[in-house]
């Protein structure tokens, strides 16, 4: 099977985040980046299916120059080649504009399956992949916790999360777009040999024109959503913070829970 994995490099939300001076996005100066968590699981799932069915894995990302680090990491894990939509006109789009660009790549590549994560940890639209499926006219599955390609690759059995601890199990026709959840598998680590090999693997950087698209259809120009500004939430109604060393804070907390909140 020929499998495409769509990944995104996102700010590491475990690291310290600061808002940029103009308020429009994060201060990117000392921001740490990583491959979006659920996308890492999509890469692992793709590698396992490719190994079982015989086939290649292509990783695709849309993002600025720094995003090639995420592609290199995926190539080090055994993906065959990469496509980087790095052209300026692709950037800062909403889910619809990004899906338009990705669909053009997928159509050119002619793949049997697209895998990706369920939601990114940055803007978190949670929509790009299902819009991609819509553009391709393929079925999609979101929040996938189990995937089993059946019958020589024409169908797949999918387990998807519902609310309240329920899972739904269904069968889909392939090709399809499958959006996995972190937790579906345990991603492998790259080997030194893999890292060395990755340096020589091809990384294409098509422009909109190369994909038969007009620059006005993609990126911010092709979007109906635009971020005006970002900020930390108003914590006015937030917690009463208890200060002091561990012992003093713990004692003060217990007293408040007994006398103020009356829950102990």
């Amino acid at each position: 099977m020929k499998i495409a994995v769509c990944i995104k490099q996102v700010p590491d939300t475990e690291a310290r985040l600061r808002v940029a001076k103009d308020g429009r996005w994060l201060d990117e100066d000392d921001l740490k980046y990583r491959t979006n968590e659920s996308d890492e699981h999509a890469i692992e799932e793709a590698l396992q299916i490719a190994a079982a069915t015989g086939g290649e894995v292509i990783v695709i990302t849309l993002g600025p120059d720094r995003a090639k680090e995420s592609l290199r990491k995926a190539l080090a894990l055994d993906a065959a080649r990469a496509v980087h939509l790095v052209d300026e006109s692709f950037q800062d789009g909403d889910a619809a504009a990004t899906a338009r660009a990705l669909a053009a790549v997928i159509e050119q590549e002619g793949v049997d399956l697209v895998l990706t994560g369920s939601q990114t940890d940055d803007v978190g639209y949670g929509a790009t992949a299902s819009m991609l499926a819509g553009r391709l006219g393929w079925p999609h599955a979101w929040l996938v916790m189990g995937l089993e390609v059946e019958e020589g690759g024409s169908t797949a059995k999918v387990t998807r999360e519902m609310e309240s601890g329920m899972n739904e199990i269904f069968r889909l026709q392939l090709p399809a777009v499958i959006e996995v959840q972190a937790g579906i598998n345990h991603p492998r680590y790259p080997t030194l040999r893999g890292i060395m090999k990755a340096k020589r693997k091809p990384m294409a950087t098509p422009t909109p024109a190369d994909l038969g698209l007009d620059a006005s259809e993609v990126g911010l120009a092709g979007s109906r959503l635009e971020i005006v500004d970002v900020a930390f939430p108003d914590t006015g109604a937030g917690a009463q913070l208890i200060e002091g060393d561990a012992a003093a804070a713990a004692a003060a907390l217990v007293e408040k829970l007994q006398k103020e909140a009356r829950v102990l």
């Binding site: 079925p139 899972n167 208890i242 907390l253």
Partner: protein, 328 residues
Amino acid sequence: MSKTFWAVLQQREGKLHRSSIEAIAAAQQLAEAHGGGRVDAILLGGDNTSELIGEVASYELGAIYAVRDSALDHYTPGAYLGVLVEAVKAGKPDFVVLPHTYQTVDFAPRLAQQTDAAYLPELIGLEQEGGELLYRRPILTGKLQARVRVKGEGTVVVTVQTGAFSADTAKAGSAAEAALPDAGAPTPDRELLGVEQVGGDQVDLSKADVIVAVGRGIGKPENLPPIEELAKVLGADLGASRPVIDNGWLPRDRQIGSSGQTVAPKLYLALGVSGAIQHLVGMKGATCVVSINKDASAPIFNVSSYGIVGDLLEVVPALTEAVRAAKV
């Protein structure tokens, strides 16, 4: 021309999802922010949904558009899109408003894409600024919020975050059922094989009085024993946020949040839990939330009554001692 707003309700197995009324409230508030307009509700489902009309008939709505078809008995994105895409293309509502749930967000982006609508997910607030309406939504797993503008012409598909638009604010009135104009035919796109309860039902946290919940911030499973000790002296059940479960540090039946259990204890002690929105919707019913986290900007503090910014390895044993001392 007066604008139209469609609130798409959610039901499953003939039961109305609680967030459906929040979608009505949000659609009404969007209408107000746009200078008024007509708000209709849409309900898709099988025959068992006819009784649900009564549950929304007491709200201020133009009509309750019902589509009943055996192909809609069980939710599939293909079946829902088959009905709604045609209706939205023909009816051209200005806004389609849906609850932000695991069922709805499965098809809402495609509804937008297939109708050339803008897609605005996870709305949590509306703000007028300089004559322009801005929309607020969480980003970076809830650590920050963005204000966004919607450009261009045409329908906007909006999903509203649970709890952001209270059901209590939905305006009362009366409404009657009508057929959805230009409804398309449901076209199921998958074969449903079954539904399973994850992790069985060994642990029911929904009735727990005290819960000690752990998040990614505990660092590693080796840090669990002192936390279990604290839970013991508090008489608490142990719960966890999703990353802890995904890492295999605790079994899946301990998960609290949108894909896990919904809890309402009188005391909820969150240890190393950052407070992603998917976790918050599972524990917002707690009476008193206490958070301990080394990251002072963790969103969990915004929903907590008390907080300690500090190292769990130091604070947890101290707290165990303090609880023991207080109970003597």
